[in-house]
Every structure is written in C-alpha cells, then in structure tokens.
Symmetry: C2
Subunit: 313 residues, 2 copies
DNA sequence: GCATTTCTTTGACATTTGCCAATCGATGTG
DNA sequence: CACATCGATTGGCAAATGTCAAAGAAATGC
C-alpha cells in the first residue's frame, strides 16, 4: 500500500508532465512538492516503465539490404543495424535495436520464450522497462553456470522483470552426464510441463551459437573442447537453445544432444514469430543453419552479416 | 524519397538521443549539424510518432471505484479520471486519458471502428501520433455536418493519420429523409461492404449520446426538436453510433432509426473490445442504456459518473 | 533568369532541467 | 531516550534544452 501510494504521486507527476505537457515547476506547484522532487519522480517513472519512451525501428527496415534478405530467405521482417557505420559500431548497435524490436513485438497477454546466450544477455541488459499486462516469459533451455552476470534463469527473470511479466523458470541443468538421466528428468512432470508450454508461445527471442573454441557452450562448460571437435566432424553447424544443429538446421544425432534438456526444436519452429538476433560476423554459418531449419521469422543483424549472407548464397 | 531522406536524419537523431542517451550536442556533432537542428528534429520525431512517449494508464484502474464498476457491470476494465479532483477538472481529464487507453489497446494489424461525437472528436484532438503498422480505421456511422472542426469522416481520417493507419470512410449521410431511400442506399455495394466490415473490427471507440435539447444529434441537425420529444415518449434513452436505443439498450422501433445509415447494433456488440468513453455527468442515463445493451466492455469515465452509476443501481 | 515565396538551418539567448550536497524525517537500536 | 541509519526531500547552481529572429537554400512563379 505504501508502495502504491508512492507510485501514485510518481504517476501523477508523469501524467501532468508528459501527457498534459506542464513544466516541472507547474507540476511541482500542483502537487505541492519541490521541483527537484518532480525531476526525481519523472526519472523514476521513466526507469520503472510508468512512462515509456520508444523510438520506432521501422527505419532500420527501409533499406535495400533488409528487403533483399527478406526476399531471399522468406522472412517476415529484417532489421539491419548500421549500414553506414564501421563494423565495431555495428555490433554495438545490435542489442539496443533488438531490445526495441522485441518490445515492439511483445503484446499484452502474450507468452514469450527466451533462450540464452551472450547476445540475449546483452539485449536483456539494455532493454527498457515496460508496463505490459498478462505477459509470461518462458525459459527455453536448461540452466548452466555463466561467466557473465546472468545465468539462463536469471536472464529470463530479468526480462520478465523489465516487462512487468511473470517468469517461468526451468529447473534443470542444460546438459546432464548421461542420456538416461536426461530422459528421466524430461519425464518429470514439472519439467515436462515447462517443455510443453513452449509450443504455446506467441513469440521467441534467441540468438544462434557458434561451435568454436571460444564459443558460448564451451566457455560455459556445456561442451569440452574434445567433444566439440568430435561434433564438428559429425557436421555440427550451430547451436540453437543449447542444441547442436547441422547445416540444414536439423538436430544432430549425437550423444551431446541426447543429454541436453531444452525446448524441443519442433516446438521452437512452431512458435509463430521467432526473433533471431545475430551480432557477430563469426556467426554466419550457424545463422545459415538456423535459417535453413526455419528457426527464424524475424531477423536482427548487422549490415556485414546481411551482405555476407547474400554474397555466399 | 526526399521525404524518406529527411526522415532518416530525424530518425537517426532520435535514435541516438532517446535510445542511446546521447546529449543534443553530442548528436549534433555525430551528425554534423547544429544543436538547434537536433532540437528541431527531436521535436518532429515526437510529433510524428517516430518517437512515442506514453504514460501508463493502469494507475487509473487501481482504485476501489473502478473495481466496483467492473464487478457490478461485468466489464473487462474501467478507468476512472480524477478521483480527487473537482468535477470540472475531471471532465477535462477524460480525452487525454481515453486517448492513452485507446493507444494502449490498439495493436498492429488490427481493425478499429470509430463512431463519432463531441467526445470522440476531443479524443482525436489530443491523441498523440503512433507508428503502428497495418492498422485500419473504420468509420462506424454515416456523415453529417458538424459545428465542430471534424465531421465523422474527418474524425476517422484524423485518427487514422495519427495512428499511421489506413482510413475507411463511409460515403453516406447519417440520416436520410425516408426509410426507403435509406434501405436503397444500404443495399449499394460500396455501403454494404463498409457495413459488413464492421463486424471484423477488433476494437471500437465511441461515446454514447444524450437526447436533450442541446444534444449532439440535435445540434448537428440529425434530429429536430419535435422528433426528439416524440422519441422520448417512445422510450428513447440514448444514442449509439447515431442510432436511438431504449433503456435496455435495444434499437428503438421508430421512423428515425429506419432512416439512419450506420453500423448495425449487432455488429457493434460483436466487436470483441468496445471502448466506451463518457465525459459529461448528464450522460448517466444513456450510459446505463449502453451498458444494458452490451455496447461496452471497457469504460473510461469520471469519478462522478462512476459514483452515480453505482449509487442508482 | 530574376524575384518571390517557402522551407531549413543556425547562432545566441532565455528558460528549463538534472544533479548534488545539505537537510529533514521516519524507523530501528543500544 | 538519545543516537545512528537510511531514505525522501529540497535549495541552488551548472548544464542541457527550447526558441526565435536572422541568414541561407531550395522551390516556385512570372
């Protein structure tokens, strides 16, 4: 109640300032507080999502390049960052752009799935707060320790927090030591339920992982370097929600995949809008695999990757 | 193209300023323009919907009063303006609140129906610009001259313009001199099509009209004073999209209604979300009729009206 | 091809806003 | 009950922003 009461004055200040266009001193006068308080309240209103300031992203789609990628790969929408910037800036532009695009795509009452990776972490980090209602955020892959601030479950919860949404976590590790144990765990009602709930998602947000020495799955300890080499000989081309896929986007038939607990690839493909975000140029091959597998309906990427995609096709 | 080029720099400035949080002088430096230009561009970005600043409306629903109205009349959501303001201020608060609520409710790709009246006109007037995609705005009633700035068709187009949407106008007068002529006109393919498209709406926005001497329908010349008196003896209780309803919200069986060209009441009721906005206290009885008839799923009203509603029920 | 109009840009100034250190006030603690 | 602690609030100042008149550029008309 005390919380609600405090929110009330913040909201009122925001309403008078942003909706009615009063100046801060006028707002202060009306509410009988100092102008400094008004300034403080307004900042809180912005930070907490009571006030939302969004910049349209459609201009990132207006370029020739985005159209070409859309057409070539049959995607619904493609956003290209920094067509006139250096490659470094380009990559830095991806997280805020992806966060804006994602916020534009989420609607009230929807269920969204979040996979995890360096990119998704970066997106969560810059995502602004929103005051959505009835949104549920579902974690799409099992957990593992991370060298970054967020683990998969924390990442999901962080996004949920920023969307004012309910977060559904996944209480299982991403990789187990034996396929049998993974099978057994998948049959646990609580896990099973979570896995089933994936197909009910309206929207998903993920990136695609590489299979390099310094790739995410290796650095987080899900795969050892020797397993990696082995997988590559078997045709591994990328990682989607912790699972290894081949160049055609099909689940690689390998021991590793059998030990993973994550959203079923078919369920992922069944999600109507699948927002894939690719930041690094090194992710070209995994991205091709993900596109081939139908894991992407909406793409956010750099101009460099977009050009690479079109060039090598 | 020149337009798109100009948009581009405005968008870039907005992106750097609002999304990246640079200061105006930093933006100016990056884009090689003067800071004054940046300030100008930012204003344009806000005014044109490239940048959207929205204040949450849910705090207008957090009060006891809204809950009570929701429960009593089985509505999905009720927003109450100015529970702690004088009655005058209350009414002034309705248009910006309704505009904000409406903008929160509209989603991409949706079809929205707009009826017309003093209230809807006031809402259109304060509605901010948005950068929605694929929205269609449908005019729900026929046209008539207005003592205000907007006629029904202009009002529809104005809202369409602000939503960056397509506007579907209705090319018929609201009231004709004989029922036969109205019937004939309704059978015209172009009109028929428009009328049919109403049931495909996802959302509607309207107010309810009174049947007083100075009511909207009278002042605009749709009804004469004598017709009005006649209708009142027949049990007329209010006006929805130009049509007269009785206290139970049913279409009044009268000559006037047979001469009106407007969206069928059944189609209106079939729209999943029906946002009704009531500004003046004098609209209590019409509002009751509209509620009884099921024309409202979401309500925006003043605290005074809300209390009246609960008191007399 | 020149004059006229209209739109854009800019420098300079006035106003508004953000921020910090100081103060106030509530709540908990020895 | 005095004291400490923590968060909320405020006055004042530096920084950032909005605005306007004037200059410049582009489009339009004669």
């Amino acid at each position: 109640m005390a919380k609600a009461q405090a929110d009330r004055i913040v909201h009122k200040a925001a309403w008078l300032y942003y909706t009615h266009g009063l100046r801060q001193d006028e707002v202060a006068q009306r509410l009988n507080i100092s102008r400094a308080s008004v300034a403080l309240y307004l900042r809180r209103a912005r930070e907490s999502g009571i006030v939302t300031i969004a910049t349209a992203t459609y201009l990132f789609r207006g370029e020739q390049l985005s159209r070409e990628v859309e057409d070539r790969f049959g995607l619904e929408a493609v956003w290209i960052a920094g067509e006139d910037l250096a490659a470094d800036d380009e990559e830095a532009e991806i997280p805020p752009l992806a966060a804006s695009v994602f916020l534009e795509m989420v609607g009230r009452g929807q269920r969204v799935g979040i996979a995890w990776g360096r990119t998704v972490y970066a997106i969560a980090d810059v995502m602004s707060f929103a005051d959505l209602e009835g949104v549920t955020v579902v974690q799409l892959c099992g957990n593992l320790g991370a060298p970054y601030s967020y683990r998969p479950d924390q990442c999901t919860m962080e996004i949920a927090r920023r969307l004012n949404a309910r977060g559904l976590n996944f209480y299982a590790p991403l990789v187990l030591s034996t396929p049998d144990l993974a099978d057994a765990l998948r049959d646990e009602p609580v896990i099973h339920e979570q896995l089933d709930s994936v197909s009910g998602c309206d929207l998903s947000l993920y990136s695609v992982g590489t299979l390099d020495e310094d790739s995410h799955v290796v650095k987080c300890g899900a795969l050892t370097t020797s397993e990696l080499a082995q997988l590559k000989t078997q045709g591994a081309a990328g990682v989607i929600a912790g699972q290894v896929i081949d160049r055609n986007g099909l689940l690689l038939d390998c021991d590793y995949n059998r030990r993973v607990i994550s959203a079923d690839l078919e369920s992922l493909k069944a999600i109507p809008r699948r927002l894939l975000v690719v930041q690094e140029e090194s992710k070209l091959e995994p991205l091709r695999a993900a596109l081939a597998g139908g894991f992407c309906s909406h793409l956010v990427a750099t101009a460099t990757i977009a050009r690479d995609l079109l060039a090598g096709d």
